[in-house]
C-alpha cells in the first residue's frame, strides 16, 4: 500500500473522495455476501444510483445485485454538497470508483495472506478470490469491521475501459421495479408511528403580513391538533390528512393579511431591462482586420418568461422533534446545506439535526424540497414526540417554488462576403440562478423569512464561470474572430429564482442557435454546414454530423408552409456533454413538435440507456418549456397555481425521438442530464422559421404568438 507519510499536506484525491477521505464513508463489505455503498449524491430520477451500482460492481468484480444502497444521511454519508449541474458521475462516481478499487486491493492482500500466495496469483469472480494454484476464499469471509477503517490513498487505479464488463452496459434501473409496483418509495409515502399531517397557509402575496388569525375556531375543527403561528408563518397539524387540508382551507379564508404590490407590471421578462444590474464582459475577442470585412449585420432580441420546475409530486417532508433534537426526511438535493440552514433557523447546533434523504418526484433543479423541510420542522416543533408529514398542495408548489429566471438576450452579429461570421455580440439580462440553502449569511428557506424573528434571505447567488449561472453557455463554442459577451446580472428579484435544469443555457443557447440560423440565412448558407464552418472542436462537429445523418438532413432543405425542420447545438456548460438536436415541427391547428433526432457525446457512457433516457426526457421537457410554459403574475400575486394555468406537454403531443449515442469509453464521463435543453429550444425556433418563414424569439412559442408574428 501507499508509503506516503502522514506528515505531508494531504494529497488531492479524485472527485468527492478529496473531502471525504475515509474509505468506510463510501462502502462496506458485509459478511452476508452484500456490499453496502453510501453515496452522498442522490437519486432525482436521473438514474445516478444505478450508475453508481455499476461502477462499484465493476471495480470489486461482484455481481451488481450484491450492491445495497444506503440512503444519504447527514448521520453517516459523505458530504457531497448538492446533487446538481450534471456533476454526480464526475464527483460521486469517481470517488466511489477509487474507493472500491482500493477496497478490492485490501481484500486481495488479505486473501493472499490467507491462501499463502502472491497477489499476482489471484483473480476474482463475483467476490470469490481464487488462487491459480487452487484454493479460494470469499470477500465475505475476508471482511472485517476494520478493513476499510482508513484513509483512501487513491493509489489503486480503477480498471481501464477495455476491462469493463458492467460499466458501459445498459444495466436496468435498480429503482424501477418498486416504482412500477407501487411499493412505498418517495418521502410522500413515509409512515411513522403516530405520524400527524401538516399543511401550511402561505401569505396571499409576497409582501403580505399576517394581521390576525382566529386560531381558536380552527383549533376546534375535527382532528386539529395544533395551529402554529409565528409572525407570518401559519400552519396547521391534524390527525388525518383531509382534516389538515380542510383546516388549511378554513385558515386561509379567515386569516387577515396586509398586502402591498411588489411585482412588475407585466409577466414579460423585459422588466429586467429597467432594473439596475451588475454588468460584466465575460468574454472578449478582437481582430480589427476581420471586423472590417463585415458586409451584412443583423440584430435580434430573444427572451424567455419565468418558468416553474413543476415537479409532478408537490414537495413533501417528514420531521420529528424529540428531546430538542430534530429528524428530517427530505427529497432535498443537498442534505448537508439544508441542515446548515435549518440549524440557523432553529437556533440549535447542527449536530442536533439529522437530515435523511428519501426520494421525491423528479425535481429538475432547486424546487421547494428544502422549503417544505423547514415547514415540517416548524410544525413538528409544536408537537414534540409526534412526527409530522407536510405535503405542499399543487397551488403551494406553483405559487412558491423558486422559479427559473426570466431572461432577455440581445444579439448582434455580422458576416463577411465569404459567409463567415466576423462580429458577434451577446448581451443577457437575468436574475441569479441560485438561492439554494447553505449560504454564508442568512438562510435560503422560505418559512425563515416569514417568522416573527426572521432569518433573512441572503443576496441571491449566480454560479460562477466556467459553468456559469445566468451566463451558462453564453460564450459560444463557435470560433469567431470578434466577440463580446456581456452579462447583466439583476440580483434583486421580485420573485425568488434559483436553478432550473440547464440554468441560463436554455435562453442563451436559444439565442445563439437562432441567431446562427439568422446569420446563415443572411449568408445564404445551409444551417448545418454554416455551423461546421465555424467549429474547430472535433467532438462538436461529430455530434452535428451524426444528427444530420440520422435525420437525413438535406442541404438547404425548406419547409412546406406547415412542416419544417431546424437544428440546434451546444456543449453543455462548454465543458460537459455535446448535444445536437434536429426537430420537425408542424403548424396545424396547434404548433407541435412531431419528431426529434439527437446526437450526444458524454464521453465514457457508464450506462448508455440511462444517457439516452435522460436525453429523450430533456428533449420532451424542453419542447414543453419552449412551446407552452410561463409563470404569470400581477402586481400582487402569482397567477399560475394549477396545471390549468400552466399546461405542459401531454401524451397526445409528445414527439417521437431518436437518440444517437457517441460513446467514448476511453474519455472521462461527462455530465449528461442537462445537455438537451438549449439545443432543443434552438432547433424549435429554427424549425418554425424553416416551416413558416417567421422567426419567433420570445419563449414560450405559443399559438397566439405565432399568429401574431404571421400577421405582422
Amino acid at each position: 500500500m501507499s508509503e506516503a507519510t502522514q506528515t505531508e499536506a494531504p494529497r488531492k484525491l479524485p472527485g468527492s473522495l478529496d473531502a471525504n477521505r475515509r474509505l468506510d464513508r463510501w462502502l462496506r463489505i458485509n459478511i452476508d455476501g452484500t456490499v453496502t455503498i453510501f453515496p452522498g449524491k442522490i437519486e432525482i430520477g436521473q438514474g445516478i444510483l444505478t450508475a453508481l451500482v455499476q461502477m462499484v460492481a465493476e471495480e470489486l468484480d461482484i455481481a451488481p445485485e450484491r450492491v445495497r444502497l444506503a440512503p444519504a444521511s447527514t448521520a453517516y454519508s459523505p458530504n457531497e454538497g448538492i446533487t446538481s449541474g450534471s456533476r454526480s458521475i464526475q464527483e460521486g462516481g469517481i470517488a466511489m470508483r477509487y474507493a472500491a478499487a482500493e477496497a478490492r486491493e485490501l481484500l486481495l492482500e488479505r486473501a493472499a495472506a490467507r491462501l499463502g500466495v502472491s497477489l499476482e496469483q489471484l483473480n476474482v469472480a463475483d467476490g470469490t478470490v481464487n488462487a491459480r494454484s487452487g484454493g479460494s476464499v470469499t470477500y465475505w469471509e475476508l471482511t472485517s469491521d476494520d478493513l476499510l477503517r482508513r484513509e483512501a490513498t487513491a493509489d489503486i487505479p480503477p480498471k481501464a475501459a477495455a476491462q469493463h464488463a458492467v460499466v458501459g452496459t445498459s444495466f436496468r434501473r435498480v429503482d424501477l421495479p418498486a416504482k412500477v409496483t407501487g411499493i412505498p418509495t418517495y418521502v410522500h409515502d413515509m409512515e411513522l408511528p403516530g405520524m400527524l399531517h401538516g399543511r401550511i397557509v402561505r401569505p396571499p402575496s409576497r409582501r403580505a403580513r399576517l394581521k390576525d388569525v382566529p386560531a381558536d375556531e380552527v383549533k376546534a375543527m375535527p382532528g386539529v391538533v395544533a395551529v402554529v403561528r409565528d409572525g407570518s408563518f401559519l400552519g396547521v397539524v391534524a390527525e388525518r390528512e383531509e382534516q389538515a387540508l380542510r383546516a388549511q382551507r378554513r385558515l386561509a379564508r379567515v386569516s387577515q393579511w396586509d398586502e402591498s404590490p411588489s411585482l412588475p407590471e407585466s409577466s414579460d421578462p423585459r422588466y429586467l431591462l429597467k432594473m439596475s444590474s451588475e454588468d460584466e464582459v465575460i468574454s472578449e475577442k478582437a481582430d480589427a482586420g476581420a471586423a472590417a470585412c463585415e458586409t451584412h449585420r443583423i440584430e435580434a432580441e430573444y427572451s424567455r418568461g419565468l418558468m416553474a420546475h413543476a415537479a409532478l409530486g408537490p414537495s413533501c417532508a417528514v420531521a420529528s422533534c424529540e428531546d430538542g433534537g430534530f429528524s428530517v426526511w427530505t427529497h432535498s438535493q443537498g442534505i448537508f446545506p439544508l441542515r446548515t440552514d435549518l440549524a440557523k433557523v432553529l437556533g440549535v447546533d447542527e449536530a442536533r439535526i439529522t437530515v435523511t434523504h428519501v426520494e421525491g418526484s423528479g425535481c429538475y433543479g432547486h424546487n421547494a424540497a428544502d422549503d417544505v423541510a423547514l415547514d415540517a420542522v416548524l410544525l413538528a416543533r409544536a408537537v414534540p414526540g409526534q412526527p409530522v408529514r407536510v405535503q405542499w398542495m399543487r397551488e403551494d408548489e406553483f405559487g412558491w417554488e423558486p422559479y427559473g429566471s426570466g431572461m432577455v438576450v440581445r444579439m448582434s452579429g455580422a458576416v463577411d462576403d465569404a459567409g463567415r461570421i466576423v462580429n458577434w455580440s451577446h448581451e443577457l439580462w437575468s436574475h441569479g440562478h441560485s438561492t439554494r440553502p447553505g449560504p454564508k449569511n442568512g438562510a435560503n428557506l422560505l418559512a425563515a423569512w416569514h417568522l416573527a424573528q426572521p432569518v433573512k434571505a441572503p443576496t441571491p447567488g449566480n454560479p460562477p464561470l466556467p459553468g456559469g449561472g445566468s451566463h451558462r453557455n453564453a460564450i459560444p463554442l463557435y470560433d469567431f474572430p470578434n466577440q463580446r459577451i456581456t452579462n447583466h446580472l439583476i440580483r434583486e428579484a421580485p420573485l425568488r429564482t434559483s436553478s432550473l435544469r440547464g440554468l441560463g443555457a436554455h435562453a442563451n443557447v436559444l439565442a445563439i442557435e437562432s441567431f446562427m440560423d439568422e446569420l446563415a440565412h443572411a449568408a445564404g448558407a445551409d444551417p448545418i454546414e454554416f455551423r461546421l464552418r465555424h467549429l474547430k472542436d472535433g467532438r462538436a462537429r461529430a455530434v452535428i454530423e451524426a444528427v444530420a445523418q440520422k435525420a437525413a438532413w438535406r442541404t438547404r432543405e425548406k419547409g412546406d408552409g406547415t412542416r419544417g425542420r431546424g437544428v440546434g447545438f451546444a456543449r453543455y456548460k462548454n465543458l460537459a456533454c455535446y448535444v445536437a438536436v434536429i426537430v420537425e415541427i408542424e403548424a396545424g391547428h396547434e404548433l407541435q413538435v412531431k419528431r426529434a433526432w439527437a446526437a450526444i457525446d458524454a464521453g465514457q457512457a457508464i450506462n448508455p440507456d440511462g444517457i439516452i433516457n435522460q436525453t429523450e426526457g430533456g428533449i420532451i421537457q424542453t419542447v414543453s418549456w419552449t412551446l407552452k410554459e410561463q409563470v404569470k403574475f400581477d402586481r400582487h400575486r402569482v397567477q399560475t397555481l394549477t396545471w390549468d394555468d400552466y399546461p405542459i406537454l401531454t401524451f397526445p403531443e409528445a414527439p417521437e425521438i431518436d437518440v444517437v449515442l457517441i460513446n467514448r469509453p476511453d474519455d472521462p464521463p461527462l455530465g449528461a442530464g442537462e445537455g438537451a435543453q438549449g439545443p432543443t429550444a434552438g432547433a424549435i425556433g429554427n424549425a418554425i422559421y424553416n416551416a413558416l418563414g417567421v422567426r419567433l424569439r420570445d419563449m414560450p412559442f405559443t399559438r397566439e404568438r405565432l399568429i401574431a408574428a404571421m400577421a405582422a
Binding site: 430520477g45 436521473q46 412505498p184 409530486g313 429523450e616 420532451i620 394549477t642 405542459i648 406537454l649 414527439p655
Partner: protein, 173 residues
C-alpha cells in the same frame, strides 16, 4: 395544544365519521372516515396503499389514477362514499415484484421511468384501456393517457411499453 387528541370514536365533533366498507383489490376493507374524504387519502393513509400518488388533488394530473368498476378514475377527485359497493383496483392489486402484471413487466423491459412518480397512475390508466380494448391504436393509447402528466418526459418509453403489452397481453385477459 401539543397533545394527541382522543381516538376517533370518542371524539365529540366527529359526527360524520363512519364505518365504510370498501372492496379494494378483491378484498373487503373497513375504514373509518368521513364520507366526503377523497378516495386517494383513504387508500394511502387508511389502507396504506401508497401506489396511487398525490400530484394535484384537482383531477388534472392522473398521478392518483385507480380503476373503479373497470374505469380509470382519478382518486383525488372522488369522495370515498362514491365507491361504496364498487370494486376498486390499485397498482398493488394488479401484480407485485414476484408476479408482475404484463404492463409492469413492459415498463421495466422498456425502462419506462425516470423519477417514476407518474408510473403507477399511468399503468392503471393503460390497464383500464387494455381491459376494454385489447388492441388499441397508437392514437387511442395517447388519448387514454391525455389526462396523465409525466414531467420527466418519459412519454415515448411509456408509449412503447404499453404498445408492447398490448401485443404480449392480448388473449391473456
Amino acid at each position: 395544544m401539543g397533545t394527541r387528541a382522543e381516538p376517533p370514536a370518542a371524539h365529540p365533533e366527529r359526527r360524520d365519521c363512519m364505518q365504510l366498507t370498501l372492496n379494494v383489490n378483491g378484498a373487503k376493507r373497513v375504514v373509518e372516515a368521513e364520507d366526503e374524504t377523497p378516495l386517494l387519502y383513504v387508500l394511502r393513509n387508511d389502507l396504506k396503499l401508497k401506489g396511487a400518488r398525490f400530484g394535484c388533488g384537482l383531477g388534472q394530473c392522473g398521478a392518483c389514477t385507480v380503476i373503479v368498476d373497470g374505469a380509470a378514475v382519478q382518486s383525488c377527485d372522488v369522495p370515498v362514499s362514491a365507491v361504496l359497493g364498487k370494486s376498486v383496483t390499485t397498482i398493488e392489486g394488479i401484480g407485485d415484484d414476484k408476479r408482475l402484471h404484463p404492463l409492469q413487466q413492459a415498463f421495466i423491459e422498456h425502462q419506462a421511468g425516470q423519477c417514476g412518480y407518474c408510473a403507477s397512475g399511468i399503468i392503471m390508466a393503460a390497464k383500464a384501456l387494455l381491459d376494454a380494448n385489447p388492441a388499441p391504436s397508437e392514437g387511442e393509447i395517447r388519448k387514454a393517457l391525455a389526462r396523465n402528466l409525466c414531467r420527466c418526459g418519459t412519454h415515448q418509453r411509456i408509449l412503447r411499453a404499453i404498445r408492447s403489452a398490448r401485443v404480449a397481453g392480448e388473449g391473456a385477459r
